[in-house]
Structure formats: C-alpha cells, structure tokens
C-alpha cells in the first residue's frame, strides 16, 4: 500500500478547490488568478510523485470508488484508470496549463472579468483530467462533453464580436457531429459486450469491431479536426490567445487522438480501420499544411500547424504505433503552447496586431520572444535532439519502414517539408527585415509573468523530449536498422523545406504585385471546403423545406391546380383566338334583325 492513489486523488481535488470557493468572497478578490495559478502548480508537483513511482516501478492503478447505479446487468461506477497514458499525460498537461495561466495573468490583466476567465480555464482543465483518467466510456463521455462546452464558452469569450460567436457555434456543431460517432460506439458496446468498462471491452473477443471503431474514428475526426470536420479549428482562433494555447494546441484537440490510443488493443487487429485512419490523417496533414502556407494571421498559421500535427498523429495510429502517437502528443504540447504564447506576446506588444504583413524587425526589439519563437519552430520541424525530434523523427522512420500505403507515406513527407516552409514564413515575416508596424507604440516584454512562463516552456521544449523518452518503459520496439537514405528522409525534407521557403521569401520581396493564381486561391481559401460546406448544405435544406412546406400544399394544390390554371388558360386562349373588335351593339342589332326576319319569312311559308 503506497501513496500512489492518494497523491493522484489529492492532485485532482486541489484542482477543484478554486471552483468550490468561487461562490465565496474569494472569487471577487483581485488575487483570485494568482490562487488558481498556484493551485495548478501545486497539483502539478503532487502529481509528479505518482508519475515517478510509475516510471520507477511500472505500477498502474485503477481507482474505483463510487458505485453510481446498476441498470439491469450493467454496473456504472466512478473509476479512474491511472496507467501509462494518463500517468504521463497528467503532469505534462498540468505543467503546460501552469505556464499558460501565468501567461494569461499578463495577457488578460486588463480584462474586467479575468476571474471568470480563470474559472473557465480551470473547469476546462478539470474536465480534461476527467477525460484522460476515465476507466469507463461514460466518464470519458462526461469529460468529452465538458471540454466541448468549455471550448465553446472560451472561444466566444469576447461575445460582442460576431465572428467570435460564429466560431464558437461552429466548434460546437462540428464537435457534435463527432459525438454521434461516440454515442454509436457506446451503444454498440452496450448491446454487444454489455459494458462500458475498458477492461471488459479489451478481454472479450469478437469477430469484428468495425462498427464501434468507425464510431470512435468519427468522434476523433470531430474533436481532433481531421479532414471533413476541420474548419472549426482555424476559426477557433477568435478566442483569446491563452485559450488557443491551452485548448486548441495541446490539450483539447488531442482528446480525439487520445481516445483512439486508449482503444489500441481493438485497433491492432483491424486492418480496415487502420487504413482508414492512415488515409484520413495523411489527407488532413497535407491539406492543412497547404492552407497554412498562405495565411496572413499569425494565430491561424499556428492553428493550421496544430491541425497538421494532429493529422500526423492519426497517421501514426494508422501504422499501428499508438505509443509513438502518445509521445508526440506529450512533446507537441510543449512547443505548440510556447509558439502560441510567443505569438501572444508579439500581438500584445504590437498593440493587438495579428497580421504578419504588418510585423517585422522584431528581432532586435523582442529578443526573448524571438529566441523562444525560433526554438519552438525548430522543435516543431524536428530539429535533431530538440523535443520534436524524439517523437517526429521516430514517426517518420516507422512510417518509412512499415508495410503501408505508399501514397499516404508520400504526402506525409510532403507535409513535413511544408511544416518547415510555413515555420520559415512566420519567422521571416514576424522577426526579420525592416519594421512594418506603426512606430508610435511602446514595446516592452519585461514582465516577469510573461518571461517566467515562456522560460519554463522553453526549457521543456529543449529537454522534455530527452527526459520523457529516456524515462518511459519500453513499449513497441522501434525499427533499429534501415538504409541510410531512409534514416535521413525526415531531416532532408525538412532542410529542403527551410531552404526553399527562405529563398522564395527573399527573392519575392521586391516584386510587383500580381493577381493571385488559382493555386494561391485554393490555399488561402482553405481549399474551398468551408465555402462549400457552410453555404451549400444549409441553403439546400432550407430551400427544400420551404418549398415543400409552402409551395406543395398551399401554392400548388389550393391555388394553382384549379382556379389559377383555369383563369390562365382562359386568358391565353381568348387572346389567341379572338378576332373580335367589341362592337356589341352591332352584334346585338344583327341578332335582333335576324330573329325578326326569320319570324316574318318563316311565318308565310304556307
């Protein structure tokens, strides 16, 4: 009996304390954000204890404490599964959230509702923890819906702005479509395996799990913004930058991938679903990388970068490497959150300017932000021995040496080089060159809240990959031998992307503006997908319903069939065949004359 379960439950309870005290006077206090941030940091430190115990001895725990109800033969209880995945993810998520909360104390300090903002962030974190540590699908669904709702509330934080409301609604609608898949999987498990507990699902054998895995794939498509349900992620950048850093880069959008990783014992033996996942992830990563090339908003470029990395995680699941995908989730959280925080620092310093065409020359003015932006971008593209290398390079190597779909592999490599291209674009436009912003602003990055939070994530971006990958228990065996050209593939395409992008950016600086080509329009309008799906589908359904409601019964049956058709026909035929001139008196007189004449003549016939 050791302190594993106690420490974990303590960490989770510490997180809920500021929510419980939000009905007291503490909530109106000016120091409430500081309390929330400290609570998160304490929860992080306490949750490191069970993680280190797990790393040392490999101990996994399942805490099942409260029996909620039994519905006929199915028992629902509150249970936490503290295994490899949740034990490593929880400290990473808490660390990143701690830094983001410190950052948002600087970013949102002039917001009058900052206490409510921190409460929402904390509620989001709690539901994410519920999702990650859930042992049965019902608890997972509670966490799933919880993060969806908090995402809606936080994206629409500045609710006076129409675009923010539209983006929040878009996020909820797209997530809902994914939830249908989740509920279908839950229903299938309930009907066929009589349970929602993960343990029981994994030990029962069944011939094919196609239907529930398809449902889970749909849920992951909705939550992790894969192709088909992806437009909500770039639109979600309407929310404040801490929200983008927390939800839409490190934590919420990986929930879909995390779900698929949780179900990897079922996916191992199902080749169809693996191929579907692979192709879906490959399409997503390529399309979003293409779209990131021509965006002008710095947050949207990073959002598309997130979407591309999520596609890469799906590709990893598709080649049957769930542990590598999980490693990429953990390492990706560090540098992506840091990239968002650096862009937040740039945006605030330039007086809320988000267009990269109006930035420039920040190399000398914001040295610390520049450093962290460059290190974050290098980590993202997989520079050897930074954080991203330990997960991304392993993924590309496994993809190259596995018996997989060559087309999916090829477009993943293309997307990797495009990653380097758009990272170069951010760095070139935002940091290098002459300043293109108004010179009347005071640029200052001296606030310790900002510096400390970015510094923590910077150290994480450099060292966390090494620390994590050398501490975890060995899982699937990585490919040890391969030809040297395959080993160098990831590095080679990345360097190619960097060089190409830099050359293009430098050469096209002084050129005359020419009108956008079709490829440019494809990329900057996000592949026309939002334009088609957001306009055509609602218009079609609204038109059909309007026509069938009003025209079918009222217009056609009651009006048009008899009355209007008769009058129309009569008018048409009368104008067609009448050749009269309306000389009524003449006609009447001739009629009378004919009558009289006939009477007179026929009277004397004898």
């Amino acid at each position: 009996m050791n302190m594993f379960s106690s420490c974990m439950i303590t960490a989770l309870v510490i997180l809920t304390l500021p929510i419980i005290t939000s009905s007291t006077k503490l909530y109106k206090n000016k120091l409430y954000p500081y309390y929330v941030k400290t609570a998160t940091s304490y929860a992080f430190m306490i949750s490191m204890i069970p993680t280190m115990m797990f790393i040392y001895s490999g101990q996994e725990t399942i805490i099942s404490n409260w029996h909620w109800m039994t519905i006929q033969t199915m028992k629902l209880s509150m249970s936490f599964k503290l295994d490899y995945f949740s034990m490593i993810f929880v400290p990473v998520a808490l660390f990143v959230t701690w830094s983001i909360m410190e950052f948002s104390m600087w970013y949102m300090h002039s917001d009058p509702y900052i206490n409510r903002f921190f409460k929402y962030l904390l509620l989001f974190l709690i539901t994410m923890m519920v999702l990650v540590t859930a042992n049965n699908m019902f608890q997972l669904f509670i966490g799933w819906e919880g993060v969806g709702i908090m995402s809606f509330l936080l994206i629409g934080w500045w609710y006076g702005r129409t675009d923010a409301n539209t983006a929040a609604l878009q996020a909820v609608l797209y997530n809902r479509i994914g939830d249908v898949g989740f509920i279908m999987a839950m229903a299938w498990f309930l009907l066929n395996l009589n349970t929602w507990d993960l343990q029981q699902i994994f030990i029962t054998t069944n011939d094919n799990f196609n239907l529930p895995l398809l449902g889970l794939l749909l849920a992951a498509t909705g939550k992790s913004a894969q192709f088909g349900l992806h437009p909500w992620l770039p639109s979600a950048m309407e929310g404040p930058t801490p929200v983008s850093a927390l939800l839409h880069s490190s934590t919420m959008v990986v929930a879909g991938v995390f779900l698929l990783i949780r179900f990897h014992p079922l996916m191992e033996h199902n080749q169809t679903i693996q191929t579907l996942t692979l192709c879906l992830g490959a399409i997503t990563t390529l399309l979003t990388a293409i779209c990131a090339l021509t965006q002008n908003d710095i947050k949207k470029i990073v959002a598309f970068s997130t979407s591309s990395q999520l596609g890469l995680m799906m590709v990893t699941i598709g080649i049957n490497q769930p542990y590598l995908a999980f490693l990429h989730i953990c390492t990706h959280a560090f540098f992506k959150a840091m990239l968002f925080m650096c862009s937040g620092s740039i945006i605030h310093s330039l007086n809320d300017e988000q267009d990269i065409r109006k930035m420039g020359g920040l190399f000398k003015v914001l040295p610390f932000t520049t450093t962290s932006l460059i290190i974050g971008s290098l980590a993202l593209t997989g520079m050897p021995f930074l954080t991203g290398f330990y997960s991304k390079d392993l993924i590309i190597e496994s993809a190259n040496t596995s018996n997989t779909n060559a087309w999916a592999l090829l477009i993943t490599l293309v997307a990797t080089s495009l990653t380097a291209a758009y990272s170069t674009r951010i760095m070139f436009f935002a940091l290098l060159g002459q300043p293109r912003f108004s010179p009347m602003i005071l640029i200052n990055e001296n606030n310790p809240l900002l510096i400390n939070s970015i510094k923590r994530l910077l150290i994480g971006s450099v060292f966390a990959g090494y620390i994590i990958s050398h501490s975890i228990t060995p899982t699937t065996i990585p490919q040890m031998t391969m030809p040297h050209y395959l080993k160098m593939t990831a590095l080679a395409v990345t360097i190619l992307g960097f060089i190409l992008a830099l050359e293009l950016n430098l050469t096209t600086q002084g050129l005359k503006f020419n009108y956008p080509s079709n490829y440019f329009k494809f990329s900057s309008l996000l592949g026309y997908y939002p334009t088609i799906m957001h306009r055509l589908t609602p218009k079609t359904s609204l038109t059909i319903s309007q026509k069938s409601a009003s025209m079918l019964l009222d217009s056609i049956w009651l009006e048009n069939i008899l009355p209007k058709s008769i009058s129309y026909f009569q008018m048409k035929s009368s104008t067609l065949i009448s050749n009269q001139k309306g000389l009524i008196k003449l006609y009447f007189l001739s009629f009378m004359l004919t009558m009289i004449l006939s009477l007179l003549i026929l009277n004397y016939h004898g």
């Binding site: 104008t575 009448s578 009269q580 001139k581 309306g582 000389l583 009524i584 008196k585 009447f588 007189l589 009629f591 009378m592 009558m595």
Partner: protein, 98 residues
C-alpha cells in the same frame, strides 16, 4: 293559347328587344337579361301549375339558380369594364384588353 301565356310571352319579347337594342350603357342590357329570366320563370311556373306537371316543379328553382349565376357573371364583367374606364359605355369596348 290563353291570355296569360300571351302576356308573359310578350313580356319576354319586350325584354329581349330591350337587351338587343340599347344605346350606351351596358347595364341596361343586363337589366333586360334579368327581365327575360323573370318572365321565363313566371311562364314556367304557370305552365307547370296549370297542367299539373308535378315532377317538373323543380325546374323553376333550377332556372333561378342558373339565372343568379349568370347575373353574377354579367355584373363582374361590368365591374371589370368600369374599373378600367370609370363608366360602362359600350363604346369603350373596342380594345380587347381590360
């Protein structure tokens, strides 16, 4: 033929002449049309009652119904014409369009 029949027949002929010969107002021919219907109704009722054609007693009612329909039709045409021109002078009906 008894006197009644000749009388009513004469009324009918008079209304017919009135309908066929009129000067300017369309309304007068419509009025004479009503007169024709009225005399027909009376003649039909007197004949049926005098000759005890009991089963044909329904016919005057039917005639009345149709006369009403046709009077409505005629009046609507009149209203259409006077909508356009303000009066119902027959000399206005030289255009085929109302």
């Amino acid at each position: 033929m008894s006197m009644v029949y000749i009388n009513i027949f004469l009324a009918f002929i008079l209304s017919l002449m009135g309908m066929l010969v009129y000067r300017s107002h369309l309304m007068s021919s419509l009025l004479c049309l009503e007169g024709m219907m009225l005399s027909l109704f009376v003649m039909m009722s007197v004949t049926i009652l005098n000759n005890h054609l009991t089963l044909a007693s329904m016919m005057p009612i039917v005639l009345l119904v149709f006369a009403a329909c046709e009077a409505a039709l005629g009046l609507s045409l009149l209203v259409m014409v006077s909508n356009t021109y303000g009066t119902d002078y027959v000399q206005n009906l030289n255009l085929l369009q109302c």
